[in-house]
Subunit: 279 residues, 2 copies
């Protein structure tokens, strides 16, 4: 395993981690000030800053962009809705290109409101990805499916395990892979095997870290800082690196009652300290 | 599929569903009054009633017992703790025998406090089940692993998919199987295949129904009544029955802010109405 004990270059800050305290310009400045090597911005923050301005500032700060969050959200109640979602994903690809992102992260979407048809939603995800694939390939922008925890299967992402994501990637072929987030995947007894499988096919496009708190008091916004919870972070990073992953560790923490309320300087310092000690 | 449209014999009431309103005696009386065919009591309620008294009343009411909730909770911080849990599971088997239960439901347990070793917890589950298996077999009491939703992997049950449960059952052999609860399993893209697999090996020991609400406001106590949420109940029951399952549909609803606050007569009437229409 790589020695991260004095590293900051392989640390990526997902901008959601301090989104309540800072806008994108402030986050970029913060990363530069703390010598954090990479960033992964959200589209709404990029839009608020202005796409070209965001790209210029990120480049100016010398930051890698480990992903753009996020495309996906394909399933819709009708064909027109699906087409609108496909069109929006093409735009997301274009934005990722401007930002120099290493991949476009896809949170694929859940079932449309009122639907109970999860198989249908999964088919729409496949159809949606198929529809944007040539645009992604021709722009050299890898599409990274982020399997989300099964507790989000109904309303956020109907792709919920690494195996399921890789089965989709295998059907779609070149230009697709996964963003592996420990928060969503840590529990899966099949995780190591699926990481090995993904590594063989060069499908490990991103690695996201945070921690799972016990108890978890909110399904969306109660993630822990690395080391606060029960995830075996070093074991999972070991699996990733043994499978050939050599990218960054991206910190993505949604924390309504704790990290979103802290001084963002402290948050960044803590991210660095934990990256160097427990990730 | 079986026609349940005028059935109450194949409806089982898990006593948790009205535990806030009624004690076990009242629940037994309620089931008899509503001609509900079966019951699945929790051990604490049985203990409060008295084991022999509970058995006598359940038999007197003509109720099947689709399971005793619950054994399991094996993992412990040390060997002494594991042994205590094993001993408690032997007692649970004895109680299930007295009650005439069709199986002992196992919620297998999560990681001991402070642990991050989910693989170790899973090994303890296997060891614990191995230790009670002969006692279960000699008493003709099937052990039904209930895979719990992955959101409970850390603190309640480290067995989280049907596949994982069946892999354990296959290693343990005769006298083991699964309690399939739609709340925990509905999202799994592999569910139909695993139900088919379980059916071939006579491992489908119980079937639990409720519904998954969108949004879900509490990870433990915000389950829906059948029909209120997004689970394709008839599809999953179809898979179960196509795989050979011919037992009851057991209603188990934890609902702090809704069904636990309603008149239990209304709750039972609603269970029957939904059992006959949407399950």
């Amino acid at each position: 395993m790589r020695d991260l004990s004095s590293d900051t270059a392989l640390l990526s800050l997902n901008t959601a981690t301090v989104k309540m305290q800072w806008d994108l310009k402030q986050i970029i400045d913060g990363c530069e000030r703390h010598q954090i090597g990479a960033i992964s911005p959200w589209r709404d923050q990029v839009a608020a800053c202005g796409l070209d301005e965001a790209a210029r500032r990120i480049k100016g700060a010398g930051l890698r962009v480990t992903g753009l969050c996020r495309g996906g959200m394909f399933p819709a109640a009708d064909a027109k809705g699906l087409q609108a979602n496909i069109d929006d994903n093409r735009k997301a690809i274009d934005e990722a290109v401007v930002l120099g992102a290493e991949c476009l992260v896809l949170v694929v979407g859940g079932m449309p409101a009122g639907s109970r048809d999860i198989a249908g939603a999964r088919n729409q995800v496949f159809d949606g990805m198929s529809a944007i694939l040539e645009h992604a390939r021709s722009n050299n922008m890898p599409l990274a499916i982020e399997p989300l925890h099964p507790m989000y299967a109904a309303d956020r992402a109907c792709v919920n395990t690494m195996k399921q994501a890789l089965d989709i990637c295998d059907r779609l072929g070149e230009g697709t892979g996964v963003a592996a987030d420990v928060y969503h995947l840590w529990w899966d007894p099949d995780l190591e095997q699926q990481i090995i499988r993904a590594g063989k096919n060069k499908q490990l496009l991103a690695y996201h870290v945070c921690d799972w708190l016990v108890p978890t008091n909110d399904m969306l916004t109660d993630r822990g800082m690395m080391g606060e919870g029960i995830v075996e972070l070093k074991k999972i990073r070991g699996w990733m690196e043994a499978a050939g992953y050599d990218g960054c560790c991206e910190v993505e923490i949604f924390s309504e009652n704790n990290w979103w309320k802290k001084d963002p300087e402290i948050v960044l310092q803590t991210c660095i300290e934990r990256h160097q000690s427990v990730v």
